[in-house]
């Protein structure tokens, strides 16, 4: 079963287990005390050492063993952890309750040792779990993770811009530019503006387009065709587009104004 691993050094001499009898060299007490994690640990040690059945603990034996140990510790070290004394009281209480005659119907479930046994078992399970956790390879202790070097270049993540940020900026522009105050932008105007850019992009590639080629009558609805027409007019007004027709009823051509001279 689980033994408390003991690695005590007393006056240069190594002790790997507690002495069989309960004699403890006076100056070694502190070492032994540290070897146990508390009264439950000490009790478990005594139970396992004396091969006692944890489910049927002979309370008299166990209490006597425990008290001997604690008494010796108290004799020398005055400030024994209160936890040990508390356990002494608990053991004596259990022992005395077991001496009392019990009502027959409660015999089964009211074993005064039940709570102690439950705690001992839970502690033992935790002790074993702790040992298993301790033995698992861990990063930094038996487990080696890749960490090769790389040239760190700082990549600046571009700022996020939301529609709200953009609208806010435009509002600020309008606030300052008084002559634009009367010219706030609606959805229709935005569509016209977008089509102006689209037409310019097309003409950048195609140079010269027939007027009708600007309109996708098959696929675009009336509103979009109207927007497209308004965009052409606005481009003309701003002098960005030139519309030419050789003679009446001949094809109308559209080209970028700047291309005519070059």
């Amino acid at each position: 079963m689980i033994e408390t691993p003991l690695n005590a050094k007393i006056k240069g001499e190594e002790f790997t287990e507690l002495p069989k009898d309960l004699y403890i060299p006076p100056d070694a007490l502190e070492v032994y005390l540290e070897a146990f994690e508390g009264p439950l640990d000490l009790l478990l040690y005594l139970i396992r050492k004396h091969n006692l059945d944890i489910l049927d603990i002979p309370m008299a034996d166990l209490t006597r063993q425990y008290m001997q140990y604690v008494d010796k510790m108290r004799a020398i070290k005055l400030e024994l952890a209160g936890d040990y004394l508390l356990m002494s009281a608990m053991l004596i209480e259990i022992k005395s309750r077991m001496l009392l005659p019990k009502p027959v119907e409660l015999e089964e479930e009211n074993d005064p040792r039940a709570e102690l046994v439950r705690r001992l078992m839970e502690y033992e399970a935790i002790k074993l779990a702790a040992q298993q956790l301790d033995e698992m390879p861990k990063v930094g202790d038996g487990l080696y993770v890749a960490s090769a070097y790389y040239q760190h270049i700082t990549q600046v993540k571009p700022p996020e811009v939301s529609l709200g940020d953009l609208a806010e900026a435009w509002r600020n522009v309008l606030k300052r530019a008084s002559h634009y105050k009367h010219h706030k932008v609606g959805r229709s105007e935005l569509s016209v503006r977008e089509h102006m850019s689209m037409i310019l992009r097309r003409l950048k590639d195609d140079r010269l387009l027939e007027f009708t080629q600007l309109f996708d009558v098959q696929n675009d609805g009336i509103p979009k065709l109207v927007v497209c027409f308004l965009a052409v007019l606005e481009l003309c007004r701003e002098g960005l587009l030139r519309i030419t027709q050789q003679q009446a009823f001949s094809p109308i051509y559209v080209q970028i104004a700047s291309d005519i001279d070059s």
Partner: protein, 181 residues
């Protein structure tokens, strides 16, 4: 235009990232590597292939709680341990028992830990585990004093090379074990 044209190059970027990262990389981390949109399913497929590429080699691609990482195969641990003989000091039994209680019984308060161990908990023990980023306060119990509830972190799972608490070594139930005999 596509930044990367073929699967080998995509896997190479992942390999370079995973071999140089000190921390496990999540799927979201890895998606950030590529300027173009990539489906998570595609990424998983690439990681599967990468894992196979490294089959029978020095490192293995493993998945832990917070993502993927390369780590040296077990067989190299004894050699690598020789590089830094002064290993991290072992934790005391008090620390390991406290950790075990938190890992297996979480969420628990300091009072719960004291109840199970039968001794007072040294605040230093809790601090050591918090500094290692293995445990964390995950709430308060609604009783007088509102004591902190502790739980283990993802980092704890990562360090133990597991993906979830269910992969911890099973706890021995002594009661059942002994009664069944």
């Amino acid at each position: 235009m596509s930044e990367i044209s073929n699967i080998t190059e995509l896997k190479n970027v992942l390999e370079a990232a995973l071999l140089t990262s000190h921390e496990p990389l999540s799927l979201d981390d890895m998606l950030r590597l590529f300027s173009e949109k990539m489906e998570r399913a595609t990424l998983r497929m690439l990681l599967d292939e990468l894992k196979q590429d490294w089959d029978r080699r020095t490192m293995e691609l493993v998945q832990v709680a917070s993502g993927y990482r390369f780590q040296a195969r077990d067989e190299y641990a004894t050699f690598l341990a020789r590089l830094n003989p002064e290993r991290q000091a072992k934790y005391s039994r008090a620390v390991m028992e406290t950790l075990a209680i938190i890992a297996y019984r979480q969420p628990v308060t300091r009072g719960d830990i004291e109840e199970i161990r039968g001794v007072a908990v040294n605040p230093n023990v809790i601090r050591q585990l918090q500094e290692r980023d293995w445990i964390d306060v995950i709430g308060q119990r609604e009783v007088p004093g509102r004591p902190s509830l502790y739980g283990t972190t993802k980092h704890f799972l990562d360090d133990l090379n597991i993906r979830s608490l269910s992969e911890l070594p099973p706890m021995v139930d002594f009661v059942q074990q002994e009664i069944s005999i």
